[in-house]
């Protein structure tokens, strides 16, 4: 009896492994991915990085202009996250099970958020590029749309998780809808929501690099310019600046999270 279970398990594991291997081989075939080449190129890339990818004295002169662009990118991701957070708060109040007004609005707000979330930021950037051109607002809207979708989902989960009992208690005392929202739902959910907003600011700094490359704005464009101009020293300085900025924001948000949550 026991042996049968082990046999069955082993057979299942073999089947799963076979399917995974088949899918891997299929993927390698259609993407023309070359395993040998990837193995040889990793050490090559590392050696190349040590030889060329470091900031030198000449690239340091570009530091002020890099920091200026990085600054713009940071503000862009903060602005898009906070404004998206405000909109997401409304949608999540309508979307959440505990605070919904009616089922139609709830479904509608969930669907809207899902569509905004599942269209990648790269796609939003391309769409906005048509009318806003190489402008800070292109990146702003691309980040705004995706952040709005993600935050609405996160806020709905937060509201459902945190405030059901408080809402019930206030309903029993005869509080109105707005009183419930402002006295129970928002105060009990706000620490979680802040944590999500800080997380999205971090994420958006990285995403805005990508959007910058696509739309020719911000720090992404600066990197792309140095990279395409083979000025790898300056490009590496951009990478280091981004890494330090992400670390700084991570540090601050971890601190806030420790105090707030």
């Amino acid at each position: 009896m026991n042996i049968d279970i082990f046999k069955k398990r082993r057979r299942q594991a073999t089947i799963v492994a076979a399917i995974l291997i088949a899918l891997t081989l299929f993927s390698m075939f259609i993407t023309e991915y070359d395993f040998a080449k990837s193995f040889t190129s990793i050490p090559k890339a590392i050696i190349w990085m040590f030889r060329n990818f470091y900031p030198d004295a000449k690239s340091m002169t570009r530091l002020p202009s890099i920091l200026l662009k990085l600054n713009e990118t940071v503000f862009l991701s903060i602005a898009s996250t906070t404004t998206a957070g405000i909109l997401a708060l409304f949608f999540s109040l309508f979307g959440s099970k505990t605070t919904k007004v009616n089922n139609i609005l709830s479904t509608l707000s969930r669907l809207t958020a899902s569509a905004f979330r599942n269209i990648p930021d790269a796609v939003w950037a391309m769409i906005m590029l048509f009318s806003f051109g190489q402008n800070a607002l292109t990146g702003y809207f691309a980040l705004f749309f995706v952040t709005f979708g993600v935050l609405t989902r996160a806020f709905i989960e937060t509201i459902d998780e945190v405030s059901y009992e408080a809402v019930e208690a206030l309903q029993a005392t005869g509080a109105s809808y707005l009183e419930i929202v402002f006295q129970a739902v928002i105060p009990s959910g706000i620490p979680q929501m802040i944590s999500w907003i800080l997380f999205m600011i971090e994420t958006n700094i990285r995403s805005s690099t990508l959007i910058g490359i696509l739309t020719g704005t911000g720090i992404g464009y600066t990197f792309n310019m140095y990279y395409k101009g083979l000025n790898y020293n300056a490009a590496s300085l951009v990478v280091i600046a981004i890494v330090l900025m992400v670390f700084l924001i991570e540090f601050v948000s971890n601190y806030v999270r420790r105090v707030v949550l």
Binding site: A45, I78, N118, V259
Partner: protein
């Protein structure tokens, strides 16, 4: 109960010391905690930074109302009149499959590497120093945007699927090591101790106790990463020439300026992303709660 008047006044007085009053003598109904102060400060700072940001952005003399009108018109065209003009729909589907394949390769390679490193990064399975070294390394990998990893590897491997997969794998490994090692660390230490006491070696502990009890968590995290990798693979196709539907999108948007084709591609990506999200949510509900 009979309380004399002096007794009840005494009780009231002793209660009074617990009641906080405002300056005008009203009883405070809100508890003032440091927690609430920090929340208010954070909200204020974010609001201030947002306003400052909007005031200082480089708008390049854009005519906002005109641009918004144009955007609404464009979005109408994109989402209401999608049509493929440069390639048949079967070709577009094939490109989505390529993007899926890129995401799959990245996820599977990343998962294998992360599984090994995740074991060493878990504090209960490895020692403090090794764990800290790996976690520091992971923090660095995650701080560099994915597209920059892809472009850095593209210098030696050339633009294409190899650079894209390596670059995306870097990020996946970073993410999965964090997720995996945290799942490993949640294991009841008694189980490991019991196996150690029975004389099991490290590999036996890993294969008989750790992996079986974490398997569902690992699956859920890995699929979540697959979902992210699909989005990333689309973006890499557009930004780093990795091919797939992202590249077609980039061509339609930046070279042909074909709104209707952008619409068609957007719908395709959205459909696949929704399917992935649906599966991922189901796995999460089934296994993670």
């Amino acid at each position: 109960m009979d309380l004399s008047k002096t007794q009840s006044i005494d009780i009231l007085k002793s209660c009074e010391s617990f009641i906080k009053r405002t300056k005008s003598g009203k009883i405070k109904v809100k508890a003032q905690s440091s927690n609430g102060t920090v929340v208010n400060i954070v909200l204020l700072v974010l609001a201030a930074l947002t306003v400052y940001g909007f005031l200082t952005f480089d708008y390049k003399d854009i005519n906002i109302s005109h641009a918004i009108k144009e955007t609404i018109y464009n979005i109408k065209t994109i989402f209401l009149e999608p049509r493929a003009s440069h390639f048949p729909i079967t070709e577009a589907l094939y490109q989505v499959v390529i993007t899926m394949a890129l995401a799959f390769l990245t996820t599977i390679i990343g998962a294998i590497i992360a599984l090994v490193l995740g074991l060493f990064a878990a504090k209960n399975l490895s020692n403090e120093r090794v764990s800290n070294v790996i976690k520091g390394f992971v923090a660095f990998i995650r701080a560099v945007p994915t597209v920059l990893w892809v472009l850095i590897f593209a210098v030696s491997a050339g633009l294409g699927s190899v650079a894209a997969v390596i670059g995306l794998t870097f990020h996946s490994v970073g993410y999965l090591i964090k997720a995996y090692s945290e799942s490993f660390e949640e294991i009841d230490y008694g189980v490991i101790e019991a196996l150690k006491a029975s004389g099991a070696n490290w590999w036996q502990i890993v294969f008989q106790a750790v992996l079986p009890s974490c398997a569902t968590y690992l699956l859920a995290w890995t699929f979540m990463r697959f979902e992210i990798n699909f989005t990333n693979a689309v973006a890499m196709g557009a930004a780093a020439g990795a091919g797939g539907i992202g590249f077609e999108l980039f061509m339609a948007g930046n070279f042909y300026f074909d709104l209707r084709e952008v619409g068609m591609i957007t719908y395709l990506i959205l459909a696949f992303a929704l399917i992935l999200e649906n599966i991922s949510t189901r796995i999460k509900i089934k296994y993670l709660r």
